[in-house]
């Protein structure tokens, strides 16, 4: 039996061998087969449909298998035709598509068509090769062009599905890096444009947050790979949607983009982030849940990571914090403390917690209670509120002086005596700039509670005795700094809530003006807050802060350079430069030319000198 079977097999081999030799090795037949495959494929690709003779090809493939001729006769030419076709097609699409976006869409369709045809016609072992050939020829030489042209347009249009398709194309061509670079470029350009748009500085942070939030959405929804858990049995994955994981290259690209984009403008972004947080902390949650508010703050804080100007942020944040706390403008002390803690722990170990500020305020409350306790029950000083601050802890410099009415000054003097008894040797200085007062004022339409600044109060109280006072007389009674006086009068007589009238009327305060009590004043509310004009930080003030920061930076640089030179005695310029940048980087990133200037200055002041023979070597002078 075995002999028989062997013989039959041999016979078959013989027959097949002969057939193969006669038919498939025949150049004429070979050529005709090849031409037929080419023609059929070309037709299908041109008409983008299945040719009516496709079933014959499937039969042919069956035969080829039997003779072991599938690969040489069909697969190899099929792949060659595919390669040639898509090389040309890629060029044609590149030339005819209106945009890179259209090109990407067309590629997606083409790849799908090829995959489908392969599945319907070819043996499974060829499917992958056909798909890969198609992708390679369509995409490989155009990745850069496609990424840098399609991605910005799709991002601008916020078309997330299309973005996911684009990502899919690039994954196929292993072009993650190219696409991530285009993504970085796009985000960085946006960030740059936003921070440099001086006309819209006020919206800078909102716009940055919006830009970042959309980029993050793109990362978490479009630039994702499906994670296949190898251990899980296949059946269970069909129930739950497959887990998706953002490609990490894009997360890094986003960070780089923001970091780079922020460098387009020095200092201002740091200032605006601090001010944005100031506004948020004043406004408070306003109906948002703790979590939502937390998230909003976190988003703004996350921008802080990207600025090199840590010192600028710290300065502006502290000023905002101090004003909020002192003037009780903060929505919540707990949130203040939580944000400070977060700043220190997660963003900036150099950040001062502000504990000293809270301590001052708490001590003041206790001390004031003690002061009030010792007063007679009907003493008007019960209404006096005093906060004692340590000068070194708060970013205020008491400077404005004003002559208070005697009864006010009396109360303050009594407090001073009380304080000095408790703490001998300490000096109290009053900062009336920060003071506030509540007045009861009677108008024709009824009485109102006025909530005003101390400066406003001092002026209004003059009208207890008379209805009409000239500018010069007011100045003589209160001795306020000229600019402050004019601004204060302006807020009372030219603002929205005019409790005073001015003669002649007008928006500015002039030397010859006379001010009158406005008996006709009305307001829908019983309690009226009269805005002061300097509540908002003036541009000069912001500029002053910036100049102060500039000065601090010089000192920090000088100190760092001297410290470095003292330790090393002599050092090359390049090394001094690098070490200095390293030494101050937790505060700011200095410009090289500024470091050079400081070295020059220190050389001039003979802290160090340049070596006589080697111009790049500096020597510490003890």
């Amino acid at each position: 039996m075995s002999n028989n079977a062997k013989r039959v097999r041999l016979l078959r081999e013989l027959a097949n061998g002969l057939f193969t030799l006669r038919i498939f090795a025949n150049p004429e037949i070979k050529w005709r087969l090849n031409a037929a495959i080419e023609k059929w494929l070309a037709w299908e690709r041109h008409h983008r449909a299945a040719h009516e003779l496709r079933p014959r090809f499937q039969e042919l493939i069956g035969h080829l298998y039997v003779y072991g001729q599938y690969s040489p006769v069909l697969e190899v030419p099929y792949l060659e035709f595919t390669e040639a076709f898509y090389t040309a097609e890629s060029q044609a699409l590149y030339e005819t598509c209106d945009s890179a976006r259209d090109f990407a869409k067309e590629c997606k369709i083409r790849i799908q068509e090829e995959e489908q045809r392969a599945r319907e016609v070819l043996s499974p072992k060829s499917w992958d090769e056909v798909r890969k050939t198609t992708e390679r020829q369509l995409l490989n030489s155009r990745l850069k062009w496609l990424a840098s042209n399609a991605l910005p347009a799709i991002m601008d249009a916020k078309a997330l599905d299309e973005l996911a398709d684009l990502y899919d194309l690039f994954s196929r061509a292993a072009g993650h890096k190219v696409l991530a670079n285009a993504f970085k470029e796009y985000v960085q350009n946006n960030v740059k444009a936003i921070v440099k748009d001086e006309a819209r500085d006020e919206e800078m942070v909102e716009r940055l947050l919006e830009c970042k939030s959309f980029a993050e959405t793109a990362i978490s929804t479009a630039f994702v790979d499906i994670v296949r858990d190898e251990d899980e049995p296949r059946a269970s994955t069909s129930d739950t949607p497959p887990a998706k994981q953002p490609h990490k290259e894009f997360g890094y690209a986003l960070l780089d983009a923001f970091q780079g984009g922020f460098k387009a403008r020095r200092k201002k972004p740091a200032e605006m982030i601090a001010k944005y947080l100031d506004k948020a902390m004043r406004r408070g949650q306003k109906g948002a849940s703790d979590e939502e508010f937390d998230r909003a703050l976190d988003a703004a804080l996350s921008l802080y990571r990207f600025t090199d100007d840590k010192d600028v942020f710290r300065t502006f944040y502290r000023r905002g914090l101090a004003k909020r706390l002192l003037l009780q403008r903060s929505a919540s002390d707990d949130f203040e403390k939580a944000v400070l803690k977060k700043l220190k722990e997660q963003f900036d170990p150099e950040f001062e917690t502000g504990d000293d500020m809270f301590k001052d305020l708490a001590l003041s409350r206790d001390m004031l209670a003690e002061f009030h306790q010792k007063l007679a029950e009907d003493d008007p000083a019960h209404k006096l509120s005093v906060t004692v601050l340590q000068q070194s802890v708060w970013p205020f410099t008491p400077n404005a002086t004003v002559d208070l009415p005697t009864f006010m000054q009396d109360q303050l003097n009594r407090f001073t005596v009380f304080y000095k008894n408790k703490h001998q040797g300490r000096k109290l200085e009053w900062d009336h700039n920060l003071g506030t007062a509540n007045l009861k004022a009677r108008f024709k339409a009824g009485s109102k509670d006025l909530s005003v600044s101390l400066h406003q109060a001092v002026i209004l109280l003059l009208f207890n005795d008379t209805d009409e006072i000239s500018f010069t007389d007011i100045q003589a009674s209160v001795h306020m700094e000229d600019g402050t006086l004019r601004r204060t009068l302006q807020s009372l007589a030219c603002g929205k809530k005019r409790v005073l009238k001015k003669r002649p009327a007008g928006p500015d305060v002039n030397d010859g003006d006379v001010f009158l009590y406005n008996a006709e004043f009305t307001d829908s509310r019983p309690r009226v807050h009269i805005n002061t004009i300097q509540v908002k930080e003036t541009p000069e003030e912001a500029k002053r802060t910036q100049t102060a920061i500039e000065g601090d930076r010089k000192h920090i640089l000088d100190a760092a350079i001297v410290r470095i030179m003292k330790a090393k005695k002599q050092m090359r310029y390049e090394q001094i430069k690098n070490d200095t940048i390293e030494a101050v980087k937790k505060h700011f990133v200095p410009e090289v030319s500024v470091i050079k200037q400081r070295i020059q200055q220190l050389t001039e002041q003979e802290y160090m000198r340049r070596d006589e023979d080697d111009m790049n070597l500096y020597i510490y002078v003890a």
Partner: protein, 199 residues
């Protein structure tokens, strides 16, 4: 006297103050140089100008072994300078910084430095006239400290006029860095204009 001559005279007499020679300084200097007439003084100063500023070949000694009686005045010092021209020029250049400086100050005013540079350095190194043009155009420089004074000469000595051997990472004073970027942008402008003209 014009150009560098007054400075050379001051240097030779080691005068303490600018444009002022004390009797003592004068007598001592003239004795050392054995000069007894104004025409010989003029000759002596021109000799030094030719040697150090205008870079002319030195005068040869008339006799060997050297005799101090050679020539119309005592040229011992001159022959010494001729052997170490570069050092001698640096000596003159450094002396001038001290001369221009007012007592107790670390800097000299830019208004003082500019004419000094133009008579001392411009004839030797044409790039100096570009630096002066830059200083004039910028108009914001005020003082020149010792280091800048020294480094400006080093810069002129070592950097070619087209700046191709300038090292941006070197520790040049910022004024010179700024000069380089000013000059480079000017050169760029010229090239662009040239291209437009040629097209």
């Amino acid at each position: 006297m014009d150009g560098a001559l007054p400075l050379i005279l001051a240097w030779q007499l080691r005068t303490k103050e600018m444009a002022k020679i004390t009797r003592e300084e004068w007598v001592k200097g003239m004795t050392e140089l054995r000069i007894s007439s104004l025409s010989v003084l003029a000759l002596a100063l021109r000799d030094l100008e030719d040697l150090l500023i205008l870079d002319k070949p030195p005068i040869k000694r008339l006799s060997t072994p050297a005799s101090s009686l050679d020539g119309p005045y005592n040229r011992e010092r001159y022959f010494d300078y001729a052997l170490r021209k570069k050092e001698a020029f640096v000596e003159l250049y450094q002396f001038c910084f001290g001369l221009a400086k007012t007592e107790g100050s670390r800097n000299i005013d830019i208004e003082m430095a500019v004419p000094f540079w133009s008579v001392l350095v411009v004839p030797k190194y044409p790039i100096m006239s570009d630096i002066l043009e830059f200083i004039n155009e910028k108009g914001t420089f005020k003082g020149v400290n010792k280091d800048l004074w020294q480094m400006t000469l080093d810069f002129c000595e070592s950097v070619s006029r087209n700046l191709d051997n300038y090292d941006a990472d070197g520790a040049w004073p910022t004024m010179l860095d700024e000069f380089v970027s000013w000059k480079k942008s000017k050169q760029g402008e010229k090239e662009r204009k040239g291209q437009v003209g040629g097209a």
